[in-house]
């Protein structure tokens, strides 16, 4: 995936040439008794096939931003301004904020799918994995025959390294890592162009976390979807992202190439964040982005 390597001089960055998602001036408020501006005039552009990291401490508004993109906010959270534009592969542009009803429903998951934090609770405990995977197809591909549907579900699971016969399992019969793999499989089901991952590995132990990250990196290079990866774990982002946005109190305080951010952090807050994590490999020079998954191997 040469396209996602740090851009060489002279070539325009991918997100400028071929953006898939353009967020302009987005503001989100919690209109409770006290109005809180959780997202404050945020502008972001996501290139096709790019991994954009979104870092920040708890409560900085990064999850709210993610839900705002896909219109999943609930009252009292309200989008008060800005725009979210989606540019599909086929060349259409969709104004996400203008979508209503069934249009919005069909847009979700088809174009932007999500993987949530804490795989434990993202799956409906009383339904089999198969039913929950098939749900996606029955909603978005109603013409698909039952047999084809089943076959697809099996393929999806195998693609994330879970045995096909796990389709018949209930969520509680799977380990945390397996559940998150199932969620990733589900997120890939419709071949979306953007995947928003909200702390997808936070609740998992380090070894499983590594495996999942490798899986995500591999799948992305195979399928070419763009990823918005949200986490408070900046070192992790440095490993997997092309660019990183650092968020604080609803604003993006710094946005730069992963390497640039790591070597020349501009904002004090970024420096604090970087300083607050011990280096993974013990020496500070261990920047891992360009060695990709091989490096993940070493760390394990």
């Amino acid at each position: 995936m040469t396209a996602t390597l740090p851009t060489t001089a002279g070539r325009a960055p991918r997100h400028e040439v071929d953006p898939v998602l353009e967020i302009t001036d987005l503001s989100i408020e919690y209109q409770a008794e006290k109005v809180v501006r959780a997202v404050d005039h945020v502008s972001l552009t996501l290139g096709r096939g790019e991994v954009l990291g979104l870092a920040g401490e708890s409560g900085c508004g990064k999850s709210t931003l993610a839900y705002g993109i896909n219109r999943l906010l609930k009252t009292p959270a309200v989008v008060t301004g800005g725009s979210v534009m989606f540019h599909s592969r086929e060349g259409h542009t969709i104004d996400v904020r203008a979508l209503e009803g069934d249009d919005l429903r069909f847009f979700r998951w088809e174009k932007i799918s999500m993987v949530f934090q804490g795989a434990m609770n993202s799956l409906n405990p009383v339904k089999k994995v198969r039913d929950q995977l098939e749900d996606v197809f029955t909603t978005h591909r109603p013409d698909l025959g039952k047999k084809v549907r089943r076959e697809r579900c099996g393929e999806l699971l195998e693609r994330v390294g879970v045995d096909r016969n796990r389709l018949n399992a209930y969520p509680h019969e799977l380990s945390g890592g397996m559940r998150q793999r199932v969620m990733i499989a589900m997120a890939m089901a419709l071949d979306p162009q953007v995947m928003i991952m909200d702390e997808p590995t936070t609740a998992l132990d380090v070894v499983v976390q590594r495996e999942i990250l490798r899986e995500i990196t591999r799948l992305r290079s195979e399928l070419g979807f763009a990823v918005v990866f949200i986490t408070h774990d900046l070192p992790l982002l440095l490993e997997i992202s092309d660019r990183i946005a650092v968020m604080r109190e609803g604003r993006i305080v710094e946005l730069a190439e992963a390497l640039t951010l790591y070597t020349q952090p501009q904002h004090d807050y970024t420096k604090t964040l970087l300083g607050s994590f011990p280096s993974l490999t013990g020496e500070r020079g261990g920047f891992v982005r360009d060695t990709g998954s091989t490096h993940a191997e070493e760390i394990r």
Partner: protein, 306 residues
């Protein structure tokens, strides 16, 4: 008390009605005529002399009602307290001690739960011809604590495994101290709501029992009033003033207690709060997406745990 319920309209209405009944139960019997005094103006409609009319034998319904209010409230209170003690013992203590004690207590509560209470009470009361109020209260309490015990047990189990309780145990605090200081305060709202339920069930149960003629001997309660009214065919003769007040009182009093319980529930489960129609309107949720817009604080909670 650490968290008293906020004085919502619901709570205010509930407390006012309960307060009025309690006051009437205390003061009423002193200001009315003799409830048993017989007169030859049987079954007369409400008038200036008899504000709530008379019974078949000319007794003043208002006087009977005052005494009945006192009787029913006493039953409710006694049974409520007894139920609370029994359910707290079998639910909280069992869950706290754990092991075989818990297994045993839990099995016992569950068996008591599935054996229907009222038929049992009916059988027991019919064997005893001369019943005191205390006996009736005792029997009602014995047959109605199990449900509360189960609820309390579940909650105690979850509190028991919270970190600060474990910390207190590890720190070597004495078991009874951990139970009283660390666990019990958390249970207060739940205990209160269970006690309120206990009172409602007791008054309803006693009313049912008395309505069948199996209440305490010579007692005045809302149930016995209804029993005499039914036996004198008050309904068929259209003597509404006789059977409406006691029944309506049971309903009103029960409803008032239920209103108080709503407020307590909102302390136990804060998610139930703040979603009145007015508040929803203020957010101006319109359009089809509001159909799925349900839990206001969901993203905020997410963020908090992020």
């Amino acid at each position: 008390m650490r968290n008293l319920p906020p004085l919502t309209p619901k709570l205010l209405v509930g407390l006012t009605i309960v307060g009025a009944f309690v006051l009437w139960g205390i003061v009423g019997p002193f200001v009315v005529a003799d409830p048993s005094g017989i007169d030859n103006i049987g079954l007369s409609a409400p008038s200036a002399d008899h504000l709530l009319g008379t019974t078949q034998t000319g007794q003043d319904v208002l006087a009977q009602f005052a005494h009945a209010t006192r009787g029913s409230l006493i039953i409710g209170l006694v049974v409520g307290v007894l139920t609370l003690l029994l359910s707290a013992f079998f639910g909280v203590v069992g869950a706290y001690v754990g092991g075989w004690v818990d297994e045993g207590f839990s099995l016992f509560s569950n068996v008591m739960l599935v054996i229907p209470g009222l038929p049992l009470v009916i059988i027991i009361s019919s064997y005893v011809t001369d019943k005191s109020v205390w006996l009736v209260a005792g029997v009602l309490a014995i047959t109605s604590w199990a449900g509360s015990a189960r609820v309390l047990r579940g909650f105690t189990l979850s509190v028991r495994s919270r970190d600060y309780v474990l910390a207190a145990r590890v720190a070597g605090e004495r078991p009874w101290r951990v139970l009283l200081v660390e666990i019990l305060p958390n249970l207060v709202p739940l205990l209160a709501s269970q006690a309120v339920f206990g009172i409602i069930f007791a008054i309803l149960g006693e009313a049912g029992l008395s309505f069948l003629g199996l209440g305490a001997t010579g007692s005045f309660t809302w149930g016995t009033m209804l029993y005499y009214a039914q036996n004198s065919l008050a309904l068929m003769r259209g003597a509404w003033w006789w059977f409406i007040p006691p029944g309506l009182s049971i309903a009103l009093f029960g409803a008032a207690l239920a209103l108080i319980n709503f407020s307590i529930d909102e302390i136990i489960n804060p998610r139930l709060r703040d979603h009145t129609r007015a508040v929803t309107k203020r957010w101006q949720v319109t359009g089809p997406s509001s159909g799925t817009a349900v839990e206001g604080a969901a993203p905020a909670e997410k963020e908090a745990t992020a």
